[in-house]
Symmetry: C2
DNA sequence: GCTATAGTTAGCATCATGGCTAAGCATGAT
DNA sequence: ATCATGCTTAGCCATGATGCTAACTATAGC
């Protein structure tokens, strides 16, 4: 039960913050420099920088520095582990629900005898 | 850019922990009492209890107390907001990639003239 | 070279999180 | 009535997350 998916923890943690999600939404419209991202948040630059670090550490964004401007861009495939995990869980949960449903149906029939 | 989806933050935060995800996986096989959940984690009961509280606050599990045993069960539909958000993001990101692709293609053709 | 701009780094305050132990309470078994 | 079981509460400690200010670096423009 130790450390199975450090990735997933990083990803979920990065997504667990409204500010970071809003930054992602903003970036969905296209790459942007740090200050443009900071603007709408109402937060100070260093604070936004740290949010960006978290996003980058999770692999959700990539940044490149050109002159004195750092441009941030989304990494679209970064969400796939999350999606995969979600799909797995849904599969298992629904399979169980089916079994439970079957069981209940059978039990009900039994009782009806 | 204020508080849009407190739910999403709760959900993502609940999922951002390996222990909690493993508890969910365990619960996917069927409802279980608190002690049965605590066992595999190697953590103490109070600690597990708090993980369960987090999961319950996020709506991911539901618990009922029968006698002195509290039974925990998964809430299958709880993941749908996450799924929805993910789908939205993918849609936007991919749309943008398509536009970018179109642009690049066009630009390349232009250059080829 | 000087100045404004864009990030960056360092350091601090505060609160949340994740773990623990110890003690308490309610219920089931004897 | 007593005791074991299963959970719960209270409280502590260490660490990490989130915000800030202030000071620093590095580039662009003049």
């Amino acid at each position: 039960m130790a450390k199975h998916d450090p990735d997933l923890s990083l990803l979920f943690h990065a997504l667990a913050d409204e500010t970071r999600r809003s930054i992602l939404s903003r970036l969905a419209e296209g790459p942007a420099p740090v200050s443009k991202l900071a603007g709408p948040t109402g937060l100070r630059l260093p604070t936004v920088m740290r949010h960006l670090s978290v996003l980058e550490a999770a692999g959700l964004i990539a940044t490149t520095k050109d002159g004195r401007i750092r441009t941030c861009a989304i990494v679209p495939e970064a969400l796939s582990p999350v999606r995969t995990w979600l799909d797995e869980q849904r599969a298992i949960w629904e399979a169980r629900l089916d079994r439970l449903d079957t069981y209940v149906t059978k039990a009900t029939k039994e009782r009806a005898k």
